[in-house]
Subunit: 305 residues, 2 copies
Amino acid sequence: MINVLAEKIKKLNAPIVVGLDPMLGYVPEHIQKKSFAEFGETLEGAADAIWQFNKEIVDNVYDLIPAVKPQIAMYEQFGIEGLKAYQKTIEYCKSKGLVVIGDVKRGDIGSTSAAYATGHLGKVKVGSKEYSLFDEDFATVNPYLGSDGVKPFIDVCKQEKKGIFILVKTSNPSSGEFQDRIIDGRPLYEWVGEKVAEWGLDHMGDSYSYVGAVVGATYPEMGKILRKVMPKSFILVPGYGAQGGKAKDLAPYFNEDGLGAIVNSSRGIIAAYKQEKYARFGAENFGEASRAAVIDMIEDIASIF
Amino acid sequence: MINVLAEKIKKLNAPIVVGLDPMLGYVPEHIQKKSFAEFGETLEGAADAIWQFNKEIVDNVYDLIPAVKPQIAMYEQFGIEGLKAYQKTIEYCKSKGLVVIGDVKRGDIGSTSAAYATGHLGKVKVGSKEYSLFDEDFATVNPYLGSDGVKPFIDVCKQEKKGIFILVKTSNPSSGEFQDRIIDGRPLYEWVGEKVAEWGLDHMGDSYSYVGAVVGATYPEMGKILRKVMPKSFILVPGYGAQGGKAKDLAPYFNEDGLGAIVNSSRGIIAAYKQEKYARFGAENFGEASRAAVIDMIEDIASIF
């Protein structure tokens, strides 16, 4: 799957991923109205609204991008109905040929991580049958519990030819509280990055490992160092756009082959119609606004090279 | 809710929590057969089997214990159907008067943590309506992203009078890889523990904070230090029993009032019927085996004081 991702990025010349993180506040009035008319102001109604919203965005951008990254929290906040919309979104994106990165940030002790890995990337056995569950292509993983929290994910990834992105340096303002603390002369995120590189050797694709890393766009100096620490890992880069990361700062996240990083934008794309820049489309044509924002983002990122 | 938990522990003289982490392999043959006969070897069948299993255990132990801790990964591995069983388990446990600690180990950047907090502890707004979702009383939270990943949980906890347990030192063998690394002369887990104490002051109950910590039973020396670092935080202690932690090692996790810690056992209770010690009950009476194991655990923990 990492080979597929790299191939798609090259073909589309678009090292970008659209974050499908649908807050209900992003969903235009007319979509909400329609869903509420059908299902009432219920969880089912909310889930339908975010699914219709996602679908229209995907329909408008799927030919331009290699991948999407749905943030499961935005669905989990609507409980079971929300998680059904998460699953439906994944299935639909895959049917459109998109690589799906489940931003689930799971991580636990061994047997529990194995259960998460099964639920998101693997297959579960029920008697003599086997079932795929959420079935993302990649998942994000939290490293705080160390190797035995991560390895069960890698085991499932090997079976399924899927991958993970491990949180190394996150994009949020307080990420430094623990991640930047100095251990034997180097910050914690570097030590985590080194482990990512080590774990990655255990599950290599053609040029890149199936074990990638998350490094926020908001910390380019650290991105530069981490690029060197993990030469074979794809870096998933959140924090571009709405969170303040700029394209010119992202050069160090890429390798010389122009690969090795994939930049995420969520709000900046899915709620583009709310920006002055794309206001001309109007809320009715929010999907077209998202398409215009994707085109602009691809151009912006291309300016790096 | 932290006051309720402390009250219940005192009343029952049982600072313990039963981990409802139902692997399908723990569910006795006769339960699986019945569920598969009704629903087939499907995800619905698996979910029904773990729900029936949970229900029988809860029916046998609810009067002895203050709280349960369902591990969501064990349900999530069966996808949507599994998560329905998770929700049903929570509802049932609450109807039996049990405090429910959702072992979800969520944690993300601010707005995303807010969504998780809503899904697990809060209420979501849909138009003019509000809905509770999974509605656990407590949730476990991963601290790797720092304050702005944790505070949205605390905000929801304040509204709902609920609480969280933050991972400080986990029970697994590789927990030391990052958690034990030395920063300015002290291990990372101590720095996290200090933050827990600080965050906790912001949301205090009568004697204890609504912000607790997870510290594994497998590292008693560290438990001793962390008890002092976080005097007002309840410590949720996994790793007793099956993972190797012993009662005699757990004294330092408690305060002088006999409170401040709650010891979890999962496998040791829910799969008790598989142990030689409780084999006399037979798989048919697995619930009674669990009850006997709970009584033994309470006695074992009482030997500390």
